[in-house]
Structures are given as structure tokens and as C-alpha cells.
Symmetry: C2
Subunit: 501 residues, 2 copies
Amino acid sequence: MTAGAQARFLELWGEVVDIGAAMAVLQWDQETQMPSKGQRSRGKQLATLAGLRHAKLTHPNLGEALNAAAEDAGDEGDSMAQVREARRLVDRASKVPPKLAKALAEAESRGLASWQQSRAESDFSLFRDSLTELVSLQKERASCLAGKGSPYDALLDVHEPGTTESQLVPIFEQLKKGLGVLLDSVHNSGVAPCEDAVRGHFPKEKQLAFSREVITAMGYDIDAGRIDLATHPFCTGFSNRDVRITWRFQENDLRPALFGLMHEAGHALYEQGLSDADQRTPLGTAVGLGMHESQSRLWENLVGRSREFWEWALPIFHRNFPDKKDVGVDEIWPALHLAQPGFIRVEADEATYDLHVLLRFEVERQLFAGGVEVDELSDLWDATSEELLGVRPPNPAMGVLQDIHWAMGAYGYFPTYTLGNLVASQLWDAASQELDISSQVAAGEFCYLREWLRAKVHCHGSRFSTAELVENATGAPLSPAPFLARVTNMTEMAYGVEEKG
Amino acid sequence: MTAGAQARFLELWGEVVDIGAAMAVLQWDQETQMPSKGQRSRGKQLATLAGLRHAKLTHPNLGEALNAAAEDAGDEGDSMAQVREARRLVDRASKVPPKLAKALAEAESRGLASWQQSRAESDFSLFRDSLTELVSLQKERASCLAGKGSPYDALLDVHEPGTTESQLVPIFEQLKKGLGVLLDSVHNSGVAPCEDAVRGHFPKEKQLAFSREVITAMGYDIDAGRIDLATHPFCTGFSNRDVRITWRFQENDLRPALFGLMHEAGHALYEQGLSDADQRTPLGTAVGLGMHESQSRLWENLVGRSREFWEWALPIFHRNFPDKKDVGVDEIWPALHLAQPGFIRVEADEATYDLHVLLRFEVERQLFAGGVEVDELSDLWDATSEELLGVRPPNPAMGVLQDIHWAMGAYGYFPTYTLGNLVASQLWDAASQELDISSQVAAGEFCYLREWLRAKVHCHGSRFSTAELVENATGAPLSPAPFLARVTNMTEMAYGVEEKG
């Protein structure tokens, strides 16, 4: 009976996974391949699949199969974890009435269009009505999800299960303080690293060849993925054997393409590292966006911006960019550790990135606490930017309108970026205790680090929470200290503020 | 009430269309983009979507909505045609038990793998067990579909509604006779056209540039489509605004790429010419594969192999292939009108192509009539090839194993290729009565012919049967005479057998 109940439940669950994967294929196609005139029908196709997925997820058949499987699953092990994860997703889907889900989907479709226009014209008033509707519907959704709990916590939980506002506040306090000290210190140094080593003329095909060699060495399996150009870099997976990444480039700056591809390949290694046996089960997905971001940031920043990485990569760099044959690690490395407060999150360096996240977090908290109206958001944004980063956006396009997330219905999402940064540093320190990472990276032997991450994170899928994975892998709870120590150390070295090991 | 019943029915139908379109996206991706390791999960995703589509199509909700819409639809006009087409597809889906549909899907998945191996090793015995299972299941399916009618007719009807074996037999008799006379006549001429004009070195990018200029002139809207490389050329549409084609090429022969792309663009013009208002309704699809093939063959053969086309295309040909600057229409044209019996259908010229179709038709008829066992198929194939084409395949890979269709579950499919050839010639003659096609094509003014086809065929979607469309457009029922007359005339001219106008 046990096997039968579980098998029935997994069969139904597999269909939900398949519909989600089909949606991901259609979305990937939309971003990378679809002709412009295909937009309208693609919207309808995706809406139909989303409705089908929701119907399958909330169907009584699945509910009954899940209950039967739960009776047999016991209190631990994979069967229990499968039931727990499935129940979490079924409950969440069941809490949002189909009518509200449809209204949200339609509002997001309108929201994307008006946000695009609003940002293009840098006129917040063009987005105001859409945003008012979106925020109102999201508040309704958050209330449905939260029950008696905090609505904003319910939204945070969607993106990284278990995350709460009260956990995040002290973390961001420490970051704000630590990064503020760092920025003062480098500002007072009166100098800045020279960026010439990574600026100049980098032909598109050579950028791809260089980056591809790097991510192949990292272990990205191109026979289980592909690389395409897109407006925004992203990673998407349709199974652990089909994980695709996208890139963009600037001809005059190597960094966006290289670090963008290392970032997405970091995400892809997580997806490709999920176990075969968990595919199409509730355990066959990454645990949350924060843990996902830790993998991308680890490869992008802790590997890709290290001296050791460039010791290995330098000959490949010279081979692809012979103009730069006189450039060495001493020239490249400082250009990867800037600390320059700016307006745009996606262009921010490591020393300021999390202040941009904190900015969005502060504004969202007030929005969902009810203390601020949509009309006030642009002013609130600008004032908070001045407080945190010391710069006031010259227009709404460079301020509150800069990111797509609100328009596409992602609220409570941004903190996962910072969680990713913190977890990455903490994992790195733990890996360094067990591995000789420095010499391995300097030799291009990325397999040791990758397999360590596979064993500590990837292969577990959704078995454990992010907090459990961090504690198991590092022996300590999540903390901003390792991140702050490393960024401070690196940045101060790059600025020549003081000499550290 | 009328509007409500129809709206409800069309809403449910739109979901069926969307699932089908999503499947088509996944299949296109599989053929053109997917990494090799993605195959296994893609198979499951497609199977799940196929199951969902079948469930939606046979769901009582749709049946009731269809009945309500039927009551209000009356006996003519679009509402009636929508109900008629929907009922045809619902009935067909309902006749095949889900268990059988699943067994077929699984057998086809196994069949494709064993066919590939069997063809690669040219060993029929490796495909025999799979084929035996496939044929047995297809007979069961055909019986379900046919009820008291002929099982083979039921399979023919799937691909071109209304087609029957007894209609096809006299048509093929005439073709066999007429093409036999033609082949004797050119064989006795003792000469053959020289192919040097279209052989040599044609760089891939130039082949694409040349063909792209041609199909753009035909009216293929690249903003509502795209062109990709694939193992086999095909056309697929996800709506009338997203119609994609694929191509392949030989560096030493211009014909496969150019005529392949003109062929697929002919299919694409049909799909792009379906009306906006019919999208996501039962009328928003092409009427059948025979009519579809008529559009591709018309552009490939009647336009692309005409003297007038090459009068227009010659400067573009010279610009892309400067090596061929001394080649003129007199050299190119004969090389496009060969009559050389061979083993492989997809490589056959116009004078022998339909004999290959007849060969498959003869073998299938005997298979479904029960007069022949799977073990005997290879010998039967070879003997029939010798009778019809005068050549005996040296091995099964060049004989009965050459085509993928049986392995993927397409039985009763091949006659649509011949129907396409016949309809193309008949439409061409009718268009010639109304348009000055010769001078228009020679001037590259393809819009007149395209718009004529739009008005006579494309815009009607599934409103009328192929037989009705042919009769309305040409004033006569389907006949092989126009095709035979044209092919005979062109081929004999190319071989210098006799001079005709």
C-alpha cells in the first residue's frame, strides 16, 4: 500500500512539474528566440498553462493522493520531505482564490507594459495606476497567504522559505553599518583603482569564447544546456539535464559578459547538480532563491574576482585579447574591487550592492506596513537612496523605476540577493577549511570546489531549508560577518587603504 | 444566450489550442535548440501535455458547451463550421481509449529509437519487433476510428479529412501510367540535362542569404517567424504570427537549401495567411495536410523551377555566387527538371516523386488489408520498387527503412504528398486564368499569386474541405491531369524530347 500511495502521488506531482517545465520553455523561447509578433499568442499560451498548473496543484485528486502518501511517509527521510514540500506548495496555491490569481496575472501583464513605457519616458505617473492596482492585489494575496501572520513575511517566504522581516532587519543593520565604514574609508583614501585593464575593445565572439572556456572549466555541461544572447542575463532549467543560460555584452568592457556568464553558470551548476532520482518529485528543485543566488555570487565574486582565478585565466585572457598582452593580474584585480556608490543596482559593485537591496527592502516594508502610498514612492526612494548611498537619482528611471520586479509581481524578492551574498561568503570560508581552494583555483582545478558544493548543497534539492543547509555545511547559523570581512579586506586592498593577508 | 453558449465553447476550445501550441513549441525546440541530454525530460513533458490536451478535448464540460453552441449555431456560416470542426476532433479523440493512446505514445517513443538504430545499421530485424507492435496498435486505433467503415480510410482521414482509398486508387493509376510513359520517353532520349549550373561551391551563409531574399519576396514575414538549421526541413506554427521554418544545406549543391526553404516558406505563407479572427477557434487551422502540401509544392516547383522565376532571381544568384557569373537561365532551368528514378523519396525529382508515394501507399494498403506480415515488408518494398521505379534498393536503409513516418506513428500519411502535387498544379492553372503569372513572377511580383492563394485558400482556415476549396478555386474537382501535363511538358523540354510552348 505504501508504495502504491507514494507512486500515485508522485505520478500526479510529475504532471505539475512537467507543466511548469513547459512554461519555462515557452518563457525562455520568448526571451531568446520568439519573433516580435508572437507576443500576443504567447501570453495566452502561458496563461492557459498557468491555469492548468494551478488546477492540477489544487485538484482534490492530488490532495487525496498527498494525504494517502502522508499517512505512510513517517516523520523523517525522503518520503516525509516530499510530502512536506508538496503540501507547502499545494497549501500556498490553495490559499489564493483562482479569481485573484487571474486578476494578478492580468494586472502583471498590464503592469509590465506600463512600466516599460514609464521607465522609457522616466515618468512615474505612467506607472502609478498600474502599480496602485498591483500593490493592492499583492496586499490581498499576501493576506490570503499569511492568514494570521505578517503579510510581508508571507511574500518573503514565497521566494526563500522561512525568511522573515524580523530576521532580515538586524542583518541589514549590520551590513549598513559595516559597508558605511568601508565606503568612508575608501572615500577618504582619495584614490580609486584604475579600470583600464578590463576596458578597451573586446570583440563579442572573443568575449564568448573566453567566458565559455571559463564556465566549461567550472563544470557547466553544455551538452545539458546552451548559451544564448538575451536582453537580461538569466538561467532557466527544464530538468537537471537541460539548464540554459543567457548573456549580454559591452564591446568596451569585459566585465558584464564574463561575470554575467560566471554568475549564470553558478546558478546552472546548482540546477545541473540536482539529483536524477529527485527529478519530477517535490525534492527535485533548488531550495530557494537565496541559496540559488549564493551559488551564482560565489562563482562570480569569490572565484571570478580572486587573484588566484586570474593567475589561471591570464593566458586564456591574453590568447583571446592579444591587445591586452601587457596587462597582468596586478592591473586586472583592483579593477574588480571598486566601491563607487551609484544609482543602478545591477551595475553596483560588491561594496554597495547590498545597500541597493536594503533600499528596496526599506521601501517595500513601508509600503506593506501601510505607512506610504504609491504616489509617495518616488520621493521615498530618492530620500532613502541619499541616506544609504549618498546619491540622489536624477530621475525616476534611475530611481524607483529601475527594476522590473514590481511590474512583474515580485514583491519580497530583493532580500534573496543579499542572502545569496552572505551565504556565498559563509560557504566559501567553510570550503576553505576543507579544501586548498587557493591553489586549486590558481590551477584551474574548479572540480574540488564544485563537488564540495554539490555534496553540501546541490544534491539535496529541497530536502533541507536554506538555514539547515548553511548550518550543516558551515557549522554556524547565517551571519553577515564573513561577507563583511571579505569585502572590506578586498576593497581596502584594491584601494591601498591598508595591507592585509 | 447564443453569444454566451458560443463564448463558453470558444473559451474551452482556446485552451485546447493553447496546449497544442505549447506542444509545438516544445517540439520545435527539441528539433532546433535542445541540448542532447534534454531528450528524456522533454519526452515526459510532451507526454503530459498530450494527456492534458486529450483530457480537455474529451472533457464533459467541452462536450456540453459544444452541444449548447450547436443548438444555436444553425445550419450554415461560421458558427456551424466551428461546431462541425470541433465535433470532428472531439469525436476522433473520444473514439481512442486513453489506454490505447498511451500505449501508442510509448510504442512510438520506442519505435523511433529502434528505427534510428535499425536504419543506421541497415538491419530491418532491429525494427521488426517495434514495428510489429506499432502496426498492431495502429490497426486497433484504426478500428476504433473507423467503426463500421474501412480502417485504412480512417487513417487517411486523420491527415486529409475525407480522403478514401477508393478515391486514391484511380488517381494513382493515372499517375503510374502517365509518369511511366514520361520516364520511357526521356529514357529513350539517351541524354540528360547537365547539373553543373547548380553544383559547385555554395557557401552556407550565401545560400541562406540568397534563399532568404527569395522567400522574403514571396511574402514570408520574418517578424512573425524565424529560420533555423535542423536535420530535416519543416514548418511549424504556434499562431498565425509565429510561424517558423527550418532548413539544411549541401555546400556542393544549391538545390536542397533553396527549394527546401521555398517549400517550407510555402507552408508558412498558408499558416501566416490564416485569419486573426479565427485564431484559437476550430477554424483557425489549415484544412489538411494535402492542401498544406499544395502550397509548399506550388512555391517550390511551379514558381521555383520556372524559367520566369530564374529570370528574376538570376542577378541575386550572381550577386551571392560570383563564381557562377557566366551561368544563365538556359543552364539552370534544365537542371531543375530531371527524371531519374532512385531509391530515396526525399531526393526524388518531380517526375518520379509520386511513384515513391505510390510505393508506400501500395505497401500500406496490403499491410492494413491483412495480406502481409511485418516480416515480409522489406521484400514487398523491394519488389514494388522494382515494379514502379525500375530500381531495387541495395539494402533496407535505402528501402523500407528510409522514412521516419511509420516509426513515429504516421500511417495513411504519404498520399497527402501526392494530393499536394495535384492540387498545386490545378490551383496554378486556375490562377493563370486570372493573373498574368508569367510576367509577374519574372518581375519578382509574387504578391499577386500570394494574395490569390490567400483569398482562395489561406483565409478560409478549416471552413471548407479540401475538395470544396479546390472546386471553388478551380471550377473542377481534383484531377491528376494538370499535374501530369505540366510535368510531362517541362521534363520533355528539359530532355529535348520535343518542343512545346
